[in-house]
Amino acid sequence: MPKLIHYRERCIGCNACVEIDYDHWRMSRKDGKAVLIGGIEKKGVFQLDVRPEDIETCKQVVKACPVRVIKLEGK
């Protein structure tokens, strides 16, 4: 299962991920950073299994993040 990974600490809250994929991302109004919806946290890094049909959108998000804190792992 492919996984979205979000290194949240270094997020600058630019909103790019939400603009492309609001099914997986939203902005936190608490600290102004992006939230990976349903993501599971491990030491400040969030992970989420994504469906194969969502991979193309996820790739766009990875590409759009200006500070490269979003990664896609596995096929």
Binding site: I12, G13, D31, G32, K63, V67
Partner: protein
């Protein structure tokens, strides 16, 4: 006090090391980013909300004003963090917030936090100053104005008696030294288009600093004598600083929150000395030449006088990165300081050190200490001409340094 009154030298503090170095070098004020809402959001060493009391205390103890740069564009989802930063700054006793988004200005006014206008607002005329004056006491002028335009603005502020919230005449600040933007600040979208990285959210990838080829639609390449077609040289005003003060500027900002402690130390010290010399009437060409020489030892893309001396095309840098005449190499860590004899003990982690080498010791509390390694001793007491990686060494250091401070040697770029 001279005819100019109080002149403020404002230094960048992109890290704790740089902040300590700025204070040591004689800055009147320091500016720094907190969390991600600042123009250097891409950097990892911005200060955190919980650092604010410590920063305020450090600045207060040293009689230095402290400013938070909160100058990105602000979205709805940023409002809560923005308010937390302003509230935290006010509670901690930070002097002021530097902003460009009206949301920040509005909130600062609501809670009574001192506000300065950022270069991102590109203030270029007296009407704008009048409008901002109900919010802000200090405004930095757009870097694209000429000194004459700046001087005229100051005169109009006096004539029209334009006062800020504190009740004093609005103070005019300009950038005195450091990198220049090829676009009007706050209006560059290159980085957003190329990398989806908005400069106005502090994520600039600095496209203007790259080399470019110029081709037409048929693939014919235009021969250009300089491929760095957008990389402006760095601003340096040390040679005409007296004219800047004559124009009525009272705050001199040194650019460089992305720069290391040694850069901040050297630039701050030069401008501090220059301002003091002008105040004392001892500002001479000989001194200027020395300052210029010293400024060229730290990061720079070559110097020019920016736009202050009149409309002209930008002067473009001829290389990527710095043309500084020296650079520092990391060689080890500080272990101990023997206060009574003024000797530091260091562990060599890399390269070597020779008798007579100029070294810098940089740390978050120490700031920056310069020394010449005159007498290098190994831990068995033997005096040596040269020590290498793995050695533990001692030599005289005139000021206290602290464990984990980093030891660098300064080498000539031409060596």
């Amino acid at each position: 006090m001279s005819k100019y009154g109080k002149i403020e030298v404002m230094a960048p503090a992109g890290s704790k090391e740089a902040m300590a170095a700025a204070i040591k070098a004689g800055a009147d004020s320091v500016y720094f980013g907190v969390e991600q809402l600042n123009m250097r959001a891409r950097q990892t060493n911005n200060f955190l909300l919980e650092d604010l009391p410590e920063v305020a205390k450090l600045c207060d103890e040293n009689g230095v004003k402290s400013y938070i740069t909160l100058n990105t564009i602000i979205y709805d989802h940023d409002i809560s963090l923005m308010k937390k930063i302003v509230d935290g700054a006010k509670a901690a006793g930070i002097t002021a917030v530097i902003a460009s988004d009206l949301a920040v200005m509005n909130y600062c006014r609501k809670v009574g936090m001192e506000l300065h206008i950022s270069t991102q607002s590109n203030v270029t005329n007296i009407e704008t100053i009048e409008m901002f004056s109900s919010y802000a006491d200090v405004m930095v002028m757009a870097r694209e104005l000429t000194l004459k335009q700046v001087g005229d603005i100051v005169k109009q502020i006096e004539r029209e008696d334009i006062r800020g919230p504190k009740g004093e005449l609005v103070q005019i600040e300009i950038f005195a030294h450091g990198a220049l933007c090829m676009a009007v600040s706050g209006k560059c979208y290159l980085s957003l288009h190329s990398d989806n990285a908005s400069a106005n959210r502090g994520a600039c990838v600095q496209n203007c600093r790259f080399k470019y080829e110029v081709k037409d639609e048929n693939g014919n390449e235009l021969e250009i004598d300089n491929e760095y077609i957008m990389s402006a040289k760095d601003l340096c005003t040390i040679e005409f600083l007296d004219q800047i003060l004559d124009a009525g500027v009272r705050v001199l900002k040194i650019e460089g929150r992305g720069r290391a402690a040694d850069y901040v130390y050297t630039t701050t010290q030069c401008y501090r000395e220059a301002v003091d010399s002008i105040q004392e009437g001892t500002y001479t060409p000989e001194k200027i030449a020395v300052w210029r020489e010293r400024l060229s030892t730290v990061y720079n893309r070559g110097f020019w006088d920016g736009y202050y001396m009149g409309q002209k095309m930008g002067e473009w840098s001829k290389s990527y990165g710095s043309v500084a005449t020296t650079r520092k190499i990391y060689i080890g860590k500080s272990m101990k300081y023997f206060e009574q004899v003024g000797v530091g003990e260091f562990r060599m982690d890399s390269h070597d050190i020779k008798k007579g080498d100029k070294v810098l010791i940089i740390g978050p509390t120490t700031g920056l200490v310069e020394a010449i390694a005159e007498e290098i001793r190994l831990d068995n007491g033997q005096v040596v001409e040269k020590a290498v990686k793995g050695d533990t060494i001692t030599f005289k250091v005139s000021e206290k340094v602290r464990p984990s401070d980093k030891l660098y040697k300064v080498v000539s770029e031409n060596a």
